[in-house]
Amino acid sequence: MRVLRLCRWLRALPVPPVRALRSAVPPRPAWQHGEPRPGAQRKVTAEVLGQLEHLALVDFRDAEGVERLQKAIWFADQLQEVNTDGVEPMDSVLEDRCLYLREDDVTEGNCTKELLKNAREKVEEYFVAPPGNIPLPKLEDQETFLQGS
């Protein structure tokens, strides 16, 4: 019964002509989404794509991934519309407070066994990694890498 009453409550709302709404709620959207400016979509160079894959150690996998990045950049470009002259960047909403610093005393630890449990390759108390100092293949040799597995 309560359900029906509420449905009626909602349906009974008059659909008023826009100007008759007395409520403080604005009857029309206060803004609209931006449209992509023709020619504004900067193409990301293959060099930058390679650089990103190298930095992130994550690959784009395919053209769709690259397209996603392009769209993300276009989306972020809307920030340029905002006037931020004289505005300081904000790192944290708690910037007006002092960071809590505790005493430099050891309060926990001795959990080597627990921590090693989750590692796949280990020897004694070491995590084992493959040989380092071997750079990832260069872009030219990366045909297959960029195209993904």
Binding site: V3, W31, L55, R68, Q78, Q80, V82, P89
Partner: protein, 525 residues
Amino acid sequence: AMLRASLRQVSAALKEGHVTPTELCQRCLSLIKSTKFLNAYITVAEESALKQAEESEERYRRGQPLGVLDGIPIAVKDNFNTAGIETTCASNMLKGYISPYNATVVQKLLDQGAVLLGKTNLDEFAMGSGSTDGVFGPVRNPWSYSRQYKEKSVPKSHSEDEESNWVITGGSSGGSAAAVSSFTCFAALGSDTGGSTRNPAAHCGVVGLKPTYGLISRHGLIPLVNSMDVPGILTRCVDDAAVVLGSLAGHDPKDSTTIQENFKPFELPNLTDVSKLSIGIPKEYHAPGLSSEILALWSKAADLFKNAGAKVIEVSLPHTRYSIVCYHVLCTAEVASNMARFDGLEYGHRSDMNKSTESMYAATRREGFNDVVRGRILSGNYFLLKQNYENYFVKAQKVRRLIANDFVKVFGNGVDILLTPTTLSDAAPYMEFIKEDNRTRSAQDDILTQAANMAGLPAINVPTALSERGLPVGLQFIGRSFQEKQLLTVAKWFEKQVKFPMIQLEEVKRHDHGVFRHQKSASFS
């Protein structure tokens, strides 16, 4: 009927011995089994839950319960570390990862005697607004199976269309919202970075509270955006949210971003006189795409306050429209940094590739992360490149300050609480939702919730009414920093006025066998 009670009601029942913790736990576990098709839980910790329930029962027997939460079944989103229980973040990267420790909020709940039923499903690494992009498949909104929704559905010719009609929970804490909404637990933890607790709360018809940044510890919450993440609380009513908040809030030496002031848990007064309240209606929250239904509901709510004597005024938060763009940049940048820890060496998935450290890292990350996560990491790294740092990252940080200042100005002018919609529309059918990609969806769906994270303010979704389609719609209240008591008091008053209907879930047992088969083909396609 006990399962539909509120947390406080069931707590009183436990105290009076009307029900025992083990009985309650078993009923919840059984309901989880029969609602498996919702896919709300990734891991059900049956054994440990029953053990916790037994311990709680012993305490009640001795007349020494630990508090209101003793024996109460709860669920936790799977991006919180839980000792001895798999924590996956719905990602291949952490499949099989057994946390060696409890997140502070989990520990606090356990210390109060709560019974941890399991870990709930989410979007992979909490990135998304539908709870559809995790490796364990999408979460189904329990309201898809409610009498209210079915009554309004256009009758289809084939019976199997009923199954493809299900709606999403919203995200990314969809599993937690579905768990609370379907009565399998009395409270659940979510996380909120851009609206991830309030969005699914609105779609699932439950209360979703995002506390002030710095009030609740993030230690053990696998981070997305360090400067915006907060643990979120999902419950069936506002009073319950206050109870859970009371046990979680407070300084944590393990999280240096928690404030040092002492937090005093509070009980919410029963507000009767709202005449001293000033409610602000930020006009920019009539965003493009807001459904006419929700607009009408929002207006009706504003009138409700006005007719009760409160001062209701239109205010302006001029930078609202840039909040989502700003979030996009800051979020991807922080994600790029936070996800760097996943390299396969110390925990999580590790690729078999072992030619070199770097190639192992790259292969591990390619295998472990889904497209959404990888996309955000790459975007984030783009914005952090030396040539882009000023124009994107620092610019976004400046815009963040402008957004935060908008709120400071409005609250400084005497407004106590802001009233806004939580979502642009009611829950979309899954088949519709997946037509757009994750980033587009997140940009659309987080529009109304994101700014509160930018400014670190507390915000709460209160389920308000059912839509024409029979699905929940909620409204959002945003309060001043650390003024949760005022925020929740107003929310509670509003909740009492609107009397949101209880979900009428069909006989769930009937679904169990047939749907589970169907669900498998849908989620692993």
